[in-house]
C-alpha cells in the first residue's frame, strides 16, 4: 500500500518538473463509496490526490479520453507527457495500449500503486446502505476497514471487494516508472469457474439470459466510453457515414452492439471491469468479455496487457493456431 503523502509528493515533483501536461489519479468523491477520477495540471492541485480502497476507476482510460483540438496556426502542440497513477489492473491497460501502439512508452509517466483491492459500491450499499458523505476505506490483508456514516467497521474482503479483486492475479502494477509503496502479496487467483458454469447452460438458456439483459440496455455507451481499450477515434456503432448500427434501441440493435464490442475486445480486455461497474442498468457485461478472455487463453495461450513487447493477438499468427476458431 502507499502512503498518500508519498504519492502527493511524487505528483508535485513530476508536475513541477514541467515534464508532464497532466496527471491522472483519484480524489475524494462528493459522496458515497467511490472516489472520483481526477485530472490535474498543476502541482498546487496535488494535495487533492488520494489512494485507498474507494479508488475503483481505471485512470488509464483517461489517457486515451484526452481530446485534442487542432493546434492554432503559429502555436506548437503540447508534447509533454501524461502521468498516470495505476493499480495492478489499471497498469495492464497501459501495457495493452503500448502493445497496440496507442501511444509510445515515452509519452507516459507511470506511477505504480500496489493494491489490496477496491470496494464494490453495489455490495457496500447492500451492507451499509447509502453513504451521503464520502466513505474512507482501506483494504488490509484480513479485511477492509471502512469508515461510513461516522462509524468505522471491518468487513471481510469477500463481502465487499469488487469481483475483479477477488480473482486478482496482478495486485502489483506490471509496468511502472515510479513504484509507490511496498509490493503486496498476490492472494487470489482466477479459475474462470463463473464462465465454466455459464458454459454448461444450453444455448436456449444462454440466449434467454442475454435477451433479458440486452433488452435492458439504453445504449448510453458508458461501457464503451469508460473502457480503456475502446479508444477508436470513431466507433463503428456511432459512425454516421456509413451507418452500420441503427440508433434505435431494440433487442436486435442492442445485441449487435454488445456482441461486436465483446468481439472487438477479444484478446484485448484487461479485466478492469469498468464496463460492468458503470452500467446504469446492471448488465453483466463482463460475463461476455470473460468468456472471450477464457477462450483466448485456452486456444492461444494469450493474455493481454502483461508484456509491453508482445504482439497484439489479432496481429500475430502462429502455424499451430487451432483451426476450429476459423469459421
Amino acid at each position: 500500500m502507499v502512503d498518500e503523502n508519498v504519492l502527493r509528493d511524487k505528483a508535485k515533483e513530476i508536475l513541477s518538473s514541467g515534464e508532464v501536461r497532466r496527471l491522472i489519479g483519484w480524489k475524494r468523491g462528493t459522496y458515497g463509496y467511490e472516489a472520483a477520477p481526477c485530472v490535474i495540471t498543476d502541482a498546487s492541485q496535488a494535495d487533492d490526490l488520494i489512494f485507498d480502497a474507494t479508488c475503483v476507476q481505471n485512470p488509464a482510460s483517461f489517457i486515451t479520453l484526452e481530446e485534442k483540438l487542432p493546434v492554432p496556426r503559429g502555436q506548437q502542440p503540447d508534447t509533454r507527457k501524461i502521468a498516470v497513477m495505476v493499480k495492478g489492473c489499471d497498469s495492464r491497460a497501459v501495457v495493452q495500449h503500448l502493445v497496440e501502439k496507442a501511444y509510445i512508452r515515452d509519452d507516459v509517466v507511470i506511477l505504480g500503486i500496489p493494491c489490496r483491492g477496491v470496494i464494490d459500491r453495489r455490495k457496500a450499499e447492500k451492507i451499509f446502505g447509502e453513504a451521503p458523505q464520502p466513505v474512507l476505506a482501506v483494504a488490509e490483508k484480513d479485511g477492509v476497514v471502512i469508515r461510513v456514516n461516522g462509524e468505522e467497521k471491518k468487513v471481510s474482503r469477500e463481502e465487499i471487494l469488487a469481483d475483479k479483486c477477488l480473482r486478482c492475479r496482478y495486485p502489483n502494477p506490471v509496468i511502472s516508472d515510479y513504484p509507490l509503496g511496498d509490493e503486496v502479496e498476490k492472494w487470489a487467483d482466477d479459475d474462470f469457474s463463473d464462465v465454466s458454469e455459464f458454459e454448461k447452460e444450453s444455448p436456449e438458456e444462454k440466449w434467454a439470459f442475454w435477451e433479458e439483459e440486452f433488452s435492458k440496455c439504453i445504449r448510453c455507451y458508458a461501457c464503451r466510453n469508460v473502457c480503456p481499450m475502446c479508444y477508436c477515434v470513431e466507433c463503428i456503432v456511432t459512425k454516421l457515414k456509413p451507418q452500420w448500427t441503427r440508433r434505435s434501441t431494440d433487442l436486435s440493435e442492442n445485441t449487435v452492439y454488445h456482441i461486436q464490442r465483446a468481439w472487438h475486445l477479444a484478446g484485448r480486455c484487461i479485466e478492469c471491469m469498468e464496463c460492468q461497474r458503470v452500467c446504469p442498468m446492471d448488465i453483466p457485461i463482463m460475463t461476455l468479455n470473460r468468456k472471450l478472455t477464457k477462450d483466448v487463453k485456452e486456444l492461444f495461450d494469450y493474455e493481454p496487457g502483461v508484456d509491453a513487447e508482445a504482439q497484439p493477438l489479432l496481429a500475430s499468427y502462429n502455424p499451430q493456431d487451432p483451426e476450429e476458431y476459423i469459421m
Binding site: 459522496y31 454516421l240 434501441t249
Partner: protein, 338 residues
C-alpha cells in the same frame, strides 16, 4: 377530492380491477427497477427508492415510430398513439411527475408534439410519496418535495399496512370508479398520517442548492476554465441525460427493411459528439468541455430563459449514476463561487 385506502395485499386486485386501462408500474429485475406495462399484477412493485429509468419513457419512449412508408410509394402512414389507449401509471415519484410539467412546456411549445401529448393526455398519473428520500435527492431545492402533487392525478402514501390514496384531479375519477372493491374509504386520520410522512421525509433531504442567480450567471462563465475541471473526467456517455427525467433530446432516423421503411425518433444526448456534428465535419461543440457546459447550461440557464423554469427536478439520478462523480450540485455550487 377523495380519500381512499388500499390494503397492501389488495394491490394486485386493485391493478387487476383497472383492466380497462393499460397499467404501467415499476418492475424489479435484479437491482434495477423500471416502469413496464403490467399484465401480471404480481410483477408490479411499490417497494423501491426510484426507478433507474424515469417514467418519461412512457410519454417519450427510447425509440418510437413517427410514421411508416413503402420506399417505392409516396404513401405515409402516421403512427400517432390513438385516443383509445387509456393508461394508468402507478407509482411515479413526485420529482419525476414534476418533470412532466417541465417537459410539457417544450413539447407543447409552438408546434405541439402529438406523440408526446397524446400519451400525456391519455395517462392518469398516480404518484407515490417518498418516505425515505435517497441521499442525493434535492427536489426541495427545485420547488418540489416528497409529496409534491403537480401534475399528478392522484398520490399514494405508504402508511405501513396500507396505502393511503388521495385523488387530486377530475381525471382520477375514471380510475377510482373502476377500482371497485379494492379501495376502501379513508378520512382525517389517514390524511394526517400522510401529512406527517411527507413532513418527516422532507426533513431527511440533506442536499440542497440555492438556485437564485444561477440562470443569469452561467452564460457569463462560457469561456471559464472551471468547466474543464469536470469535463476532464467526463466519459462523454449518455447516462446523465438518458436517465434525466427532464432531458428530452432526440434523433430522427429513417430505417428500412427491404421496401418497408419508417421514420423513427430515439433518445439522443448532447453528451455525444455526433449530436452536433455537421455534415461538413465541423463540430460547434468539439470537446466534452463544450458538451458538459451545454448540458448544465441548458438545464439551469437556457431552458429557464426560454420556458421560465429550471429543467431539473432534483431526482439525483445524474449524481447517483455518474461513473466519474460529476455531481451537478457540486458543479452548480462551484459555478456560484468562481
Amino acid at each position: 377530492m377523495g380519500d381512499y385506502k388500499i390494503l397492501k395485499e389488495k394491490v394486485p386486485d386493485f391493478i387487476k380491477a383497472l383492466d380497462k386501462f393499460e397499467v404501467f408500474a415499476p418492475v424489479k429485475k435484479g437491482d434495477t427497477v423500471r416502469f413496464e406495462k403490467i399484465d401480471d399484477p404480481s410483477r408490479a412493485t411499490l417497494d423501491f427508492s426510484n426507478t433507474n429509468v424515469p417514467p418519461k419513457e412512457l410519454m417519450f419512449p427510447e425509440t418510437e415510430t413517427l410514421f411508416r412508408y413503402r420506399v417505392v410509394s409516396t404513401e405515409i402512414e402516421p403512427k400517432v398513439p390513438s385516443d383509445e389507449e387509456k393508461r394508468v401509471v402507478l407509482g411515479i415519484r413526485p420529482c419525476d411527475a414534476m418533470a412532466f410539467s417541465i417537459v410539457d412546456r417544450l413539447f407543447g411549445w409552438d408546434f405541439p408534439d402529438p406523440y408526446y401529448q397524446k400519451r400525456r393526455e391519455n395517462s392518469i398519473l398516480v404518484g407515490l410519496a417518498c418516505a425515505e428520500p435517497c441521499s442525493n435527492c434535492f427536489c426541495t431545492s427545485l420547488g418540489g418535495g416528497p409529496a409534491n402533487e403537480e401534475p399528478l392525478d392522484a398520490i399514494l402514501y405508504d402508511l405501513g399496512e396500507f396505502y393511503y390514496l388521495k385523488t387530486i384531479t377530475d381525471k382520477s375519477e375514471a380510475f377510482v370508479s373502476s377500482a371497485g372493491d379494492a379501495l376502501e374509504s379513508a378520512g382525517d386520520s389517514e390524511r394526517a398520517q400522510a401529512t406527517e410522512l411527507a413532513g418527516s421525509a422532507e426533513k431527511k433531504i440533506k442536499r440542497t442548492i440555492k438556485t437564485e442567480g444561477i440562470p443569469e450567471k452561467l452564460p457569463s462563465l462560457y469561456d471559464h476554465e472551471f468547466w474543464t475541471q469536470y469535463s476532464n473526467r467526463c466519459l462523454g456517455c449518455g447516462i446523465c441525460t438518458f436517465l434525466c427525467p427532464t432531458c428530452h433530446c432526440f434523433d430522427i432516423q429513417d430505417e428500412i427493411e427491404a421496401f418497408d421503411g419508417r421514420r423513427a425518433r430515439m433518445w439522443d444526448t448532447c453528451m455525444f459528439a455526433e449530436y452536433t456534428l455537421h455534415a461538413s465535419g465541423h463540430n460547434p461543440r468539439p470537446t466534452r468541455k463544450e458538451r458538459t457546459r451545454n448540458r448544465i447550461s441548458h438545464k439551469y440557464s437556457y431552458f429557464p430563459t426560454k420556458f421560465g423554469v429550471i429543467a431539473c427536478v432534483g431526482c439525483g439520478r445524474c449524481i447517483n449514476f455518474c461513473p466519474v462523480n460529476i455531481d451537478i450540485i457540486d458543479v452548480l455550487q462551484k459555478s456560484k463561487e468562481v
